[in-house]
C-alpha cells in the first residue's frame, strides 16, 4: 500500500475534482433510465398490475400488500432516472459528494423496475426477498467478521472455510450427543478456537506464511470433517448427527413493527447474534481501547510494541476470537439453519465471506454490506426462477458472482489493507 510514508507537508489551494467521473455517472444514469424504458416498459401491456408482498410467509400481515400499475411504475422510474442523469450532466460538478448516493438510488430504481417487470401480472414477495437476503448474509457476515478480527490484528485468515466446516461438524456432533444445542454451539466455537490456536502458533510463533497455514487448515478441515462424516456421522446418523436447530424467537413488541419487524425480529438466535457481533465489533474496533490496540498491531506492530502493547498476545487473542467467530458461523450451518452436518456443506461460503471482507474494506459494517449485496443478488436470482423467468437456471445462479465482480470493479476502488496484514512480527531485527 502506498500511504505509509510520510507524504504531504503543505495544504494545497487548488482542488481538482474528477470531472470525467461525474460525466460518466450522468451518462450511466441516463442509460439506466433508457434501459428501464427500453427493456421493460415496452414489453408490458397497459392495465397489468404488479403485486409486492409485504409480509414474509407464515406471518400475520401487518401492512397490506402493495399493488402497483406495472406500466406507470416503470415509466415513472425511467423518467426519474433520466432526469437525475440530465441534472448530473448539466449541473457543474453534478451531485458532488452525493453522486454515489444518487447512483445507489438509480441502481435501486433499476432493480425495482426489473422486479416490477418480471412480476407483471403476478406477485412477488418483497418482504420475503429481503428476509432471504438477510438470511443468506448471516453466515457470510459472520465469516467476514472472523476475517476482520484476524486481519485487523495483522494475521491473514483464509482458513475461514475450514474453520466453518469444522465448527459445523463439531457443533452437530456435540449437540446430537449431548442433546443440547447450546453445548453443541459451545463445542463448535471451541473447535474454531482450536484451529485458530494452530493458525496462531504457526503464523505468529513459527512465522509460517499465513496463506500456507490457512491453506493447510482448510485442507485439514475438509479432510477431517469428511473423514468423520463418512466414518461415523453417516453411519450413526440418528445418534451422532441429529442435533435439531435453534428455532426462531420473535422478540416481543419489536417483531410487531410493520414490515421490518417480521424480517429483523422474528429470527433465530444466530441472526440476533450476528447483529450483536456486528455492532460490538464495529463499536469495539473504533471506539474502545481493545479495538485501538488491536488495529495498531495490524497497522504498525513495532509502533504498538514501543508503546508497551504486547503484539504477540494481541495477535493471538484476535486470531482466537476470529476463529471462534468462524466456528460460530460454522455452527450456523449445522444447528442454526438446518439440523445436521453434511460433507462440505459450507459450499465455499468461507471464501465468499473473505471476498465480503475485502469488499467492505475490513470494516464490519462494510463487510455486512458486501454480504447483503451478495445475498440480495442470490435471493433475487432465486426469486426470478420462482417467478418463472425464462432464463436457464445455471445462468441465473451465476448472478451473485457476476454482480460482486461488477460492483468490485466499478464502484469499490482499491482496498485499503491493514498495513501489516500478513507480515509476521519480528521483535528483534536489525
Amino acid at each position: 500500500m502506498t500511504t505509509t510514508t510520510t507524504t504531504p507537508t503543505v495544504k494545497r489551494e487548488i482542488k481538482v475534482a474528477s470531472p470525467t467521473r461525474q460525466r460518466v455517472m450522468g451518462i450511466i444514469f441516463l442509460v439506466i433510465g433508457f434501459g428501464i424504458w427500453f427493456l421493460f416498459s415496452r414489453d408490458v401491456e397497459a392495465g397489468t398490475y404488479t403485486k409486492f408482498g409485504m409480509t414474509t410467509g407464515g406471518q400475520v400481515a401487518s401492512i397490506p400488500d402493495l399493488t402497483v400499475p406495472t406500466l406507470a411504475t416503470l415509466n415513472i422510474l425511467a423518467v426519474v432516472c433520466g432526469v437525475l442523469g440530465v441534472v448530473q450532466l448539466v449541473r457543474k460538478d453534478g451531485f458532488g459528494k452525493y453522486t454515489n448516493l444518487v447512483l445507489g438510488g438509480v441502481v435501486a430504481a433499476f432493480v425495482i423496475s426489473f422486479l416490477t417487470w418480471a412480476a407483471a401480472g403476478k406477485s412477488i414477495n418483497f418482504a420475503g426477498l429481503l428476509n432471504t437476503t438477510l438470511l443468506k448474509a448471516v453466515p457470510l457476515t459472520l465469516g467476514a467478521l472472523s476475517g476482520i478480527l484476524c486481519e485487523r490484528a495483522g494475521v491473514v485468515n483464509i482458513a475461514i472455510e475450514g474453520m466453518m466446516l469444522m465448527g459445523a461438524m463439531v457443533a452437530s456432533l456435540f449437540a446430537s450427543v449431548s442433546g443440547s444445542l447450546w453445548i453443541g454451539l459451545a463445542a463448535g466455537v471451541a473447535a474454531g478456537a482450536l484451529l485458530g490456536l494452530i493458525h496462531g502458533v504457526l503464523s505468529i510463533k513459527y512465522k509460517t506464511d499465513q496463506i500456507i497455514s490457512g491453506t493447510a487448515i482448510n485442507i485439514f478441515s475438509i479432510g477431517m470433517t469428511s473423514y468423520i462424516s463418512s466414518k461415523f456421522l453417516q453411519v450413526y446418523q440418528l445418534q451422532l448427527n441429529n442435533p435439531g436447530t435453534f428455532q426462531p424467537y420473535a422478540i416481543p413488541v419489536l417483531s410487531k413493527i410493520p414490515f421490518f419487524g417480521g424480517i429483523l425480529f422474528d429470527q433465530n438466535m444466530f441472526v440476533y447474534a450476528m447483529f450483536l457481533l456486528l455492532a460490538l465489533l464495529q463499536f469495539g474496533l473504533f471506539k474502545t481501547r481493545w479495538g485501538l490496540r488491536m488495529r495498531s498491531v495490524g497497522e504498525y506492530p513495532r509502533a504498538a510494541d514501543t508503546l508497551g502493547i504486547n503484539v504477540f498476545r494481541t495477535r493471538y487473542i484476535s486470531v482466537l476470537l476470529g476463529s471462534m467467530v468462524a466456528g460460530f458461523a460454522g455452527a450456523y450451518f449445522s444447528i442454526g439453519s438446518v439440523g445436521g452436518f453434511d460433507e462440505v456443506m459450507t459450499a465455499g461460503r468461507g471464501f465468499i465471506s473473505l471476498a465480503a471482507m475485502i469488499f467492505g474494506n475490513w470494516i464490519p459494517v462494510g463487510a455486512f454490506g458486501g454480504s447483503l449485496l451478495f445475498g440480495f443478488a442470490d435471493s433475487l436470482a432465486s426469486k426470478l426462477a420462482i417467478l418463472g423467468v425464462q432464463i436457464p437456471s445455471e445462468l441465473l445462479l451465476m448472478t451473485p458472482y457476476i454482480v460482486t465482480m461488477i460492483v468490485l470493479a466499478g464502484v469499490v476502488g482499491r482496498a485499503r489493507t491493514p498495513a501489516a496484514d500478513g507480515v509476521p512480527y519480528e521483535k528483534e531485527s536489525l
Binding site: 504531504p8 507537508t9 494545497r12 487548488i14 490496540r293 508503546l307 508497551g308 485499503r416
Partner: protein, 506 residues
C-alpha cells in the same frame, strides 16, 4: 546526587555483528546528552535496549540511582523513559489523539475510549511546551515536523523524564530544526533530561551539554561542546580525517538536456502537486532542487521519469518531447534515475546483486539474446561493476537484501551510471547513508557531471544541495519559487525560500 540515567557495560550481539560493545553512558538531570555516531555505529541499538525493545546480552541500566530491568517498552515507560524513534512510531491512519493515547488510554466504563479527555490533555501539553497540533487530525495528513511534535507529546503525555530523541533533525527544514532546538531547550528547562542521537555535528555543538561518540559499537570518546570542534568530532566519529567539503571545479554547462515547461502534476489524491513548473538543466551542470519534503519534488521527479502522468505542460529531453512517455522510453533516451526509496523502488531485495544490476537493461544485448538471458554476460557485467563501483558484497549472487544500505545504494548507482546517460535524476541519493558512502556517492555524481551529464539533484539535505549544485532551484508548494546560481546564495537564504519566504513553515 545520582545521575538520572546510567548505562554500564551494555553489550549486544546480533548474528555476525557486535552491535554494542560494553558501552557506558551517564545522563545528568536537566542536561542534553548527545550521542554521536555514524549510521550503523550502534546508537539506535543502544537506545532500543534502553527502551526495552531489545534485551542486552550484558550490562546494567540504572535510573535515579536504582538498577532497573527493562524487558519491554512498558518497563521503560514505567521508569520514565520515553523515546522518539528515527522512523516515527505513528500509525498513519490514526488521529493524533489516538496515536498519543495508544497504550495508555483514558477509558470510560467498558473500555470505551475517552477521546475528549485525551484531546484536552494534548491541548494542555501543546500549550505548556509550545507544541501546536490538532488532536483530531489524521497523522498521515500531517507534515513531518508536526508528526515529530506528536511523538514528543506522546512522551510528555506519559510523563517521561528521560527523553530519547533518535535523529530528530534528519527530516526537518532548517527552520524546523531551529524550532526543535527551542522545544528541546524548554523541555530541559522544565526538568526533563534528553539523550539526543545524531550524526550532525553542528547541532551537537549548538545544544548538547555532554557528547559521547561511538563507533562500531564502542565508545570512542566523551567530550563537551566547549572542548571540541566539528573536525575533531568528525574524526572521532568516522575514525579518520574527513573532508566535509565536496571538492569540485565550477561546472561548465553546455547544451540544454532537459527542459520542463509549465508542468502540472497531480498527486495520489488528485490534488495539484506540481503547479506550473518550468526549468532547464544543461550538460555538465548540477541543478539542485531544494525544498522541504512533500512540496511536489517527488511528483516532479516521477513525472520526469515517466512514473506519473502530467496533466499539462511539456518535458523535453534533448529535443525529444517525452511528456507522458513510459519509464522505459525515457530510460532508453539516456535518463538515469536514482530513486528516493532505494529498498522499495530501487532494488528487488530478494534478487541477487547481478540481477539488480540489469534491472532496466535485462532485455537488451548483451544480457538477452532473443529472449534468452545470457547468464555468463550478466555475471561478467556484475563482477565488473562490483569492482568498478567498489560494492562490498560476498559475491554477485548474493541477495541485494543482504547488503548494507551504502552498498545497496552503490548497486543502484552502478546500474544507473554504467550505461551511457545524458541526464541523471537523483532523488535523495544519500539519505540514511554513512559518511563514507555519502562521500563516495557525491564524488561519483560530480564525476558524472564533469563527463558532461546533466544532473537533476533533489534533496532535502540543504548541505548536500549547497555542496553539489551549480544552480539551485527552491520548490515550495508545487512551485519553483526561485532559481539561482549556487555561489550567489547562502544557506540561510535558501532555507528561508524553502519555508516560503514571507510566511514561516506551517
Amino acid at each position: 546526587m545520582a545521575p538520572v540515567l546510567e548505562l554500564k557495560g551494555i553489550t549486544k550481539r546480533f548474528p555476525g555483528v557486535l552491535a554494542n560493545d560494553h558501552i557506558d553512558l551517564t545522563l545528568e538531570e536537566g542536561q542534553i546528552h548527545a550521542l554521536l555516531g555514524e549510521n550503523g555505529a550502534g546508537k539506535t541499538t543502544l537506545m532500543n535496549i534502553l527502551y526495552g525493545l531489545y534485551q542486552p546480552d550484558e550490562g546494567e541500566i540504572w535510573v535515579q540511582g536504582k538498577q532497573i530491568k527493562v524487558h519491554s517498552p512498558s518497563d521503560a515507560i514505567a521508569s520514565g523513559i520515553g523515546m522518539v524513534h528515527q522512523h516515527f512510531m505513528l500509525i498513519p491512519v490514526f488521529t493524533v489523539t489516538e496515536n498519543v493515547m495508544l497504550g495508555d488510554e483514558d477509558v470510560r466504563a467498558g473500555g470505551i475510549l475517552d477521546r475528549k479527555t485525551v484531546a484536552a490533555k494534548i491541548r494542555q501539553i501543546s500549550e505548556q511546551y509550545n507544541l501546536q497540533v490538532d488532536p483530531d487530525a489524521y497523522v498521515e495528513d500531517l507534515p513531518v515536523g508536526v508528526q515529530q511534535r506528536v511523538e514528543i507529546i506522546k512522551l510528555l503525555y506519559r510523563e517521561a523524564d528521560i527523553l530519547i530523541l533518535d535523529e530528530p533533525s534528519a527530516v526537518l527544514t532548517p527552520q524546523e530544526v531551529e524550532e526543535l532546538i527551542k522545544i528541546m531547550r524548554s523541555l530541559v528547562e522544565k526538568g526533563k533530561s534528553i539523550i539526543f542521537i545524531t550524526h550532525k555535528l553542528k547541532e551537537v555543538l549548538e545544544i548538547a551539554d555532554q557528547i559521547t561518540v561511538i563507533r562500531r559499537g564502542k565508545v570512542v570518546g566523551a567530550t563537551t561542546p566547549q572542548e571540541a570542534d566539528q573536525n575533531q568530532l568528525a574524526e572521532m566519529m568516522v575514525g579518520r580525517q574527513v573532508d566535509l567539503e565536496v571538492d569540485k571545479e565550477p561546472g561548465r554547462p553546455g547544451q540544454r538536456v532537459l527542459e520542463v515547461k509549465d508542468l502540472m502534476v497531480l498527486d495520489d489524491r488528485h490534488q495539484l502537486a506540481v503547479d506550473g513548473v518550468s526549468f532547464e538543466v544543461m550538460e555538465g551542470e548540477v541543478l539542485g532542487i531544494a525544498g522541504v519534503q512533500g512540496n511536489g519534488q517527488t511528483e516532479l521527479v516521477e513525472a520526469i521519469t515517466g512514473l506519473r502522468l502530467s496533466t499539462s505542460g511539456k518535458i523535453v529531453i534533448t529535443d525529444e518531447d517525452l511528456t507522458n512517455s513510459t519509464p522505459r522510453q525515457i530510460t532508453e533516451q539516456g535518463v538515469a534515475h536514482v530513486p528516493e526509496d532505494r529498498q522499495k523502488d530501487g532494488l528487488v531485495l530478494p534478487f541477487p546483486v547481478a540481477d539488480n544490476l540489469i534491472l532496466n537493461t535485462y532485455y537488451q544485448a548483451p544480457f538477452s539474446k532473443g529472449v534468452v538471458l545470457q547468464a555468463d554476460k550478466i555475471l561478467e557485467n556484475a563482477n565488473q561493476l562490483i569492482k568498478d563501483f567498489d560494492i562490498r558484497t560476498p559475491g554477485a549472487m548474493t541477495k541485494a537484501g543482504a547488503l548494507s544500505g551504502g552498498n545497496q545504494q552503490k548497486v543502484i548507482v552502478a546500474r544507473e551510471f554504467s550505461r551511457p546517460i545524458k541526464l541523471l535524476v537523483a532523488s535523495q541519493p544519500t539519505r540514511g547513508l554513512d559518511v563514507g558512502s555519502i562521500e563516495y556517492i557525491h564524488r561519483r555524481i560530480i564525476e558524472k557531471r564533469d563527463q558532461g551529464t546533466a544532473i537533476l539533484l533533489v534533496s532535502t539535505e540543504l548541505d548536500e544541495i549547497m555542496g553539489l549544485s551549480d544552480r539551485i532551484a527552491v520548490m515550495y508548494r508545487g512551485k519553483i519559487v526561485d532559481v539561482m546560481p549556487a555561489q550567489a546564495v547562502t544557506k540561510e537564504q535558501v532555507g528561508l525560500l524553502m519555508a516560503g519566504i514571507t510566511q514561516p513553515a506551517a
